[in-house]
């Protein structure tokens, strides 16, 4: 019961956050329409700025095949580095993303031609022509893309950072019972996850098995959320493929560790009359899938919404181009950045917390079936 209450609280918390986001977004749309209204009277220069901002936001939210720090829009020169492209197209195709020239040219490798279209790689002819269907979707063949993209680089960077930080913490423990160095800062968080997330949700002897996963997922999500707020501008946890992978892992671990009781509660709910059992089984089965699905959408939507709102407000500074509007946008962006810092930790916490809760359901022993 307590656990349901806690989940309910989390949902309301989420809800409040979404309300805030909605309010800010509505406010933003009002401004946008206002700006648009003005623009129709202006020349095309102003309009292109707004479109450029929109494009920038779109571009920022998506994964990219090269790591760009910033682009000078006047000269069209961008600073950054290219990343390796790995394709599966009748054998392994391996080449540098610099061949695309940021999507402007056709890349040739082993006699095959590829072109970037909306950050996706399509197989084309030598001219790089992309055929579109009636819904503006390209009909060209899409090779399987295993490229080391910007997001993959950030995942590797975060992984290495975590290995260094926590490996260092482990090493400092070898010298004595008091941790030293940077890792020391994370020790209370590790203890917090053990005592306030794992132990109450999973139960005392079983929680140990899940600690490595819970700790890894918490710090992984938290660090990537924080990286997303840096000017590096990577949106890894706001990418549906990443959150899907994380939710899938939680789902798989939950199902694998599910004991007899867990399955019994899904397919043949004890303590209710048999017609209800038949009705409840599909609902419970659906719940099994919805839980990780909600986990995936929650993290994705929160981080993506945060990025969109923050970038829109930063964009507003350039659209207003006056003292009052721009400084107001600046302070709004500042306040929102602080909020996003909180959200970064909060979403990592919620993901870990709910994962622990699901593992708890899976390993729970019910000796007291009438009690709840």
């Amino acid at each position: 019961m307590q656990q349901f209450l806690r989940q309910f609280n989390l949902f309301t918390m989420q809800h409040k956050f979404f309300v805030t986001i909605m309010t800010v977004t509505l406010f933003l749309f009002n401004f946008n329409s206002f700006a648009q209204h003005n623009e129709h009277e202006n020349e095309s220069g102003e309009k292109s700025l707004k479109e450029k901002i929109k494009e920038d936001i779109q571009h920022h939210l998506l994964d990219s095949h090269d790591f760009t720090f910033y682009t000078d829009s006047e000269t069209g020169k961008s600073t950054g580095f290219s990343l390796p492209i790995i394709l599966w197209d009748n054998g392994l195709q391996f080449f540098s993303s610099s061949k695309f020239h940021h999507g402007e040219t056709v890349a040739e490798n082993n006699g095959n031609y590829y072109k970037l279209y909306h950050n996706k790689i399509y197989k084309t002819d030598i001219n790089g022509s992309i055929e579109l269907d009636s819904h503006d979707h390209p009909t060209n063949a899409k090779p399987l893309d295993f490229s080391i993209t910007k997001s993959v680089v950030m995942i590797i960077v975060t992984g290495v950072l975590m290995l260094l930080l926590f490996g260092g913490l482990a090493k400092s423990f070898r010298k004595g019972p008091i941790a030293t160095g940077v890792g020391r800062f994370f020790e209370p968080i590790i203890i917090y996850i053990r005592d306030d997330i794992a132990k109450p949700n999973i139960g005392d002897p079983q929680y140990k098995k899940y600690m490595p996963y819970l700790l890894t997922i918490f710090f992984f999500v938290w660090f990537l959320n924080l990286f997303g707020l840096t000017p590096l501008g990577v949106n890894v946890t706001g990418n549906i493929a990443v959150t899907f992978a994380l939710a899938l892992l939680t789902f798989v671990i939950t199902q694998v560790s599910g004991n007899k009781n867990y399955w019994k509660h899904i397919f043949w709910m004890p303590g209710v009359p048999w017609p209800m059992k038949i009705i409840l089984a599909p609902i419970e089965l659906l719940g099994v899938l919805i839980k990780p699905f909600a986990l995936m959408i929650r993290l994705y939507a929160n981080i993506m919404a945060g990025h969109v709102v923050l970038m829109s407000i930063i964009g507003l500074m350039f659209i207003f181009q006056n003292w009052i509007g721009s400084s107001l946008s600046f302070f709004l962006a500042f306040a929102l950045s602080l909020l996003e810092l909180l959200v970064a930790a909060l979403q990592a916490y919620i993901f870990t917390m709910l994962s622990a809760l699901y593992f708890g359901f899976a390993v729970e022993e019910h000796d007291h079936e009438e009690a709840h």
Partner: protein, 166 residues
């Protein structure tokens, strides 16, 4: 929803799963397990130290209380001894007093008896002497008186009177 599916990149998903599992396994071996063990060990150590301190404190308290008990007992013993001594002194004094008194009484009684005896002896002696004197006087008187007949009868009468009176 369509946009979500469209945005879904299988490559990124693939790398995320592979890299995350590798990271998880590496961290479990080289970071989480040693860290959690160390924290557990430290907590156990702290718990043990606290328990030990508690035990030591308890022992100290026990020692202190036993000390106090011994002191108390000693004090009580001293008290008892003092009391005993005092009572002994009292009894000795009373006994001595009684003894003295009885001795004195005895002496007095003896003295009284001696006095009585002496007195009796003296009285007897005096009686004897008086008797002798009387006889002597009587002899002298009688010697004188017996020369006169009248005076003899008068004397005899008088003596008879005296004798009846006695």
């Amino acid at each position: 929803m369509e946009k979500l599916i469209n945005d879904f990149s299988f490559g990124l998903f693939f790398w995320q799963v592979i890299l995350f599992i590798v990271l998880l396994l590496l961290l479990r071996k080289y970071a989480w397990n040693p860290i959690l063990d160390a924290i557990n060990e430290r907590e156990e150590g702290i718990k043990n130290a606290l328990d030990e301190a508690d035990n030591a404190r308890q022992e100290m308290a026990e020692l202190k209380s036993s000390n106090e008990k011994i002191l108390k007992e000693a004090r009580a013993e001293r008290e008892v001894m003092l009391k005993e001594a005092r009572s002994m002194k009292d009894t000795m004094i009373t006994e001595a007093k009684d003894e003295a008194k009885s001795q004195a009484d005895k002496i007095i009684v003896q003295a009284k008896a001696a006095i009585e005896t002496e007195k009796q002896a003296a009285i007897t002696d005096l009686k004897n002497q008086v008797a002798e004197l009387s006889v002597e006087i009587a002899e002298k008187v009688i010697k004188d008186e017996l020369s006169n007949k009248n005076a003899q009868i008068k004397l005899i009468d008088k003596m008879l009177d005296d004798a009846t009176l006695n």
